[in-house]
């Protein structure tokens, strides 16, 4: 009797362990697999490439989504924030304005998207999913109208443009500038979400909005802040994106949405309560980036990569949710 109980307990804890560390185990397995399968995978040059091209921009968007998802909401319009920042930034630079004006304008455009979301959610009581879905539609329409149906805008030359492109491509003490931007933002969001009063309020709203309200927390104000921050972070990605490729391609921001949501939720499997965390999100982004890169190196084309990513996300989710359910 007692033996079988112990046995059961052991089984449960093994399952709990697997559920908790499924991401880390998957991560390790994948790194080992690709290191064996492709000789170039573990080279510094390749890792550098992964970091700069696949990680930074997605990670910054995902940081914003981490805040929103922590608060119990979702932001489907992050792509619009990326695009709007990118569009205004490129338009301003193309019109000959300085880089500072360009960045301010870009972030301002993202800010407007964030404020719009905040108003819809906190003032009009629309659920975050529907509010940001509506903004997504409107944002896409706006871009199409502003670019006569989606014509890209290229930054041909100009001092500011080249300057930015150069910054985006240089490194400081061997660390690429975009990576430094990411590290600074990640540390800031980590402190904000996990160490600050604001972060605690966000967690409370995510866990039980009624309790937050009954505890005297200004829920509408904090929630507005959440959505503004998310939009601003997406705006940073928008500016980095257009500085890197020296252009604005309409509707390109949407590509980040699914990956960022996926990364954030992969990250939630790290915590017992499936709460999003900055570290988890970064791991999720890294996992997605490494798989994409690894699949490329072993000769899978872009199309198969998407299948691979989908299967991977599915398996991680299945492991996390399924094992947890079995453990209960």
């Amino acid at each position: 009797m007692s033996v079988s109980a112990n046995d059961n307990a052991a089984k449960v804890s093994v399952r709990g362990f697997l559920a908790k560390y499924s991401v880390l185990i998957a991560f390790a397995a994948i790194v080992i697999f690709f290191s064996v399968a492709s000789p170039t995978f573990l080279t510094p040059a390749n890792l550098f490439n992964v970091l700069v091209n696949n990680v930074v921009m997605l990670a910054i968007v995902a940081l914003g989504l981490t805040i929103v998802i922590s608060s119990g909401g979702i932001d489907l319009s992050v792509g619009v924030s990326v695009d709007m920042a990118s569009m205004v930034f490129v338009m301003l630079l193309a019109a000959g304005y300085s880089g500072v004006v360009g960045v301010a304008g870009g972030l301002g455009a993202a800010l407007i998207v964030g404020i719009l979301n905040a108003i819809l959610i906190t003032r009009l009581n629309i659920s975050p999913f529907l509010a940001t879905l509506g903004v997504l539609f409107i944002g896409q329409s706006t871009q199409q109208l502003a670019t006569s149906g989606g014509q890209p805008i290229y930054l041909t030359s100009g001092y500011a443009a080249d300057q930015f492109n150069a910054i985006a491509r240089t490194a400081l003490l061997g660390v690429p500038t975009p990576v430094i931007v990411l590290i600074v933002l990640a540390v800031a969001v980590h402190l904000l979400l996990h160490r600050s009063v604001f972060g605690r309020y966000v967690q409370a709203m995510g866990a039980q909005p009624g309790v937050a309200w009954y505890s005297g927390i200004r829920v509408p104000r904090e929630l507005s802040m959440v959505h503004v921050l998310c939009a601003l972070l997406a705006g940073v990605t928008g500016i980095l994106l257009s500085a890197t490729v020296k252009s604005y391609v309409p509707l390109s921001g949407n590509a980040f949405l699914l990956d960022a949501i996926g990364a954030t939720f992969i990250g939630t499997t790290l915590s017992r309560e499936r709460k999003p965390s900055v570290i988890g999100t970064l791991l999720g982004v890294l996992l997605l980036a490494i798989v994409k890169n690894g699949l490329l190196l072993v000769g899978w084309n872009f199309y198969w990569q998407q299948v691979g990513i989908g299967v991977l996300v599915f398996l991680v989710l299945a492991a996390s949710f399924g094992l947890r359910r079995a453990a209960h």
């Binding site: 009009l124 509506g134 409107i138 699914l258 996926g262 872009f302 299948v307």
Partner: protein, 343 residues
């Protein structure tokens, strides 16, 4: 132990109040519903008056044809939302439905172009669509993954497989069945329009006329209550995802017939499908998704695009207006609910 606890002695004022409150709520809901419908009607009236040829039979049939694909997909989505509950983060949703249609279309067109017959190709497309649906069902029901996440992952898988199959190219297709769908007509109504009409009729009867449909609503509306009534919640939820996959397959055949090919980019339909299923709730007295409501909003979205076209308004407005309408409808709905003062 609490031996003496108050029970309302008379309870008249209480009951009256409750009755008044409930009447007020019903009135508020009615106002919202009529308001939204009036807004739709106003837009239609504007088109009728100002858009040349808007009311011509040819144009209207054209709209119905154009709406067929969106409609069939939206029915799948509606079924999933009914069975999974309409809570937007925890409830039922199938983000993979449009990508699934793309995959089915690719399978269908590829098989046809390889020389296989209609029957086999159609069956294969339907098998693929339902398999993707079954995968969603497994993830949501079997593994307990949030529908939003599970179907997001499956979206990626389906979209990737479509790309792999077609190498991101247009796969031309022709067959007797496609020929009938393209040029066939009956009673002056084209085959594509008939497809929507028949499919709509089946869906409306099944979901609103049978005990199966009634139970489906119960499962989505209050799973605990459904379980207590002896219903198998997992069965019904699984069914909706498989049905959604089936709808994707049917829509894929319609889209191949319309374009005489399978083309990349079907994933873009997802937002319109969601919009149609969500907007449809406003047509229901209970504010739940209904097949009839979905049909109306699909036609409305179709007419909106068509009206803009006839008025020479850029089609780029259509998305924005759709988005604004969703926000409007949902804001008014939440306002009507919020005015009960329950915070």
């Amino acid at each position: 132990m609490s031996a003496t606890v108050l029970h309302t002695e008379v309870g008249v004022s209480d009951e009256k109040q409750a009755a008044a409150k409930s009447a007020g709520r019903r009135f508020g809901a009615l106002v919202v519903r009529l308001g939204a419908i009036a807004a739709f009607a106003a837009i239609m009236a504007y088109f009728v008056i100002f858009a040349p040829g808007f009311t011509s039979t040819f144009n209207l049939i054209n709209v119905v044809e154009q709406s067929a694909i969106l409609g069939v997909l939206a029915y799948g989505m509606t079924a999933v939302i009914i069975g999974g509950g309409s809570d937007v983060t925890e409830g039922g949703i199938d983000l993979s439905i449009a990508a699934n249609m793309g995959l089915c279309a690719a399978v269908y067109a590829t098989l046809l172009s390889m020389g296989y017959g209609d029957l086999l190709s159609v069956l294969a497309a339907i098998a693929v669509g339902m398999a993707v649906g079954a995968l969603n069902a497994l993830a949501v029901v079997g593994l307990g993954i949030l529908p939003l996440l599970a179907t997001l992952a499956v979206l990626n898988v389906a979209a990737g497989m479509e790309l792999t199959l077609t190498q991101n190219t247009v796969v031309g297709a022709s067959s007797p069945l496609l020929g009938v769908l393209v040029s066939g007509s009956f009673l002056g109504v084209s085959a594509l329009a008939w497809a929507l009409i028949v499919f709509s009729a089946i869906m409306i009867v099944v979901v609103h006329g049978t005990s199966f449909g009634l139970r489906l609503y119960a499962v989505g509306g209050h799973p605990e209550a459904a379980r207590a009534a002896g219903l198998s919640v997992p069965f019904y939820v699984s069914f909706t995802y498989v049905l959604s996959g089936f709808c994707a397959a049917v829509a894929s055949i319609l889209t191949v017939s319309r374009l005489s090919a399978s083309t990349p980019g079907s994933g873009e339909l997802l937002l319109s499908v969601l919009a149609a299923a969500l907007l449809g709730t406003v047509f229901s007295r209970r504010f739940v998704p209904t097949m009839g409501g979905t049909l109306l909003s699909v036609l409305f979205i179709g007419l909106l695009a068509n009206g803009f076209q006839l008025l020479n308004v850029s089609s780029y407005w259509v998305n924005g207006v759709q988005g604004a309408l969703i926000l409007l409808v949902v804001a008014i709905t939440s306002f009507a609910r919020g005015s009960e003062g329950s915070r």
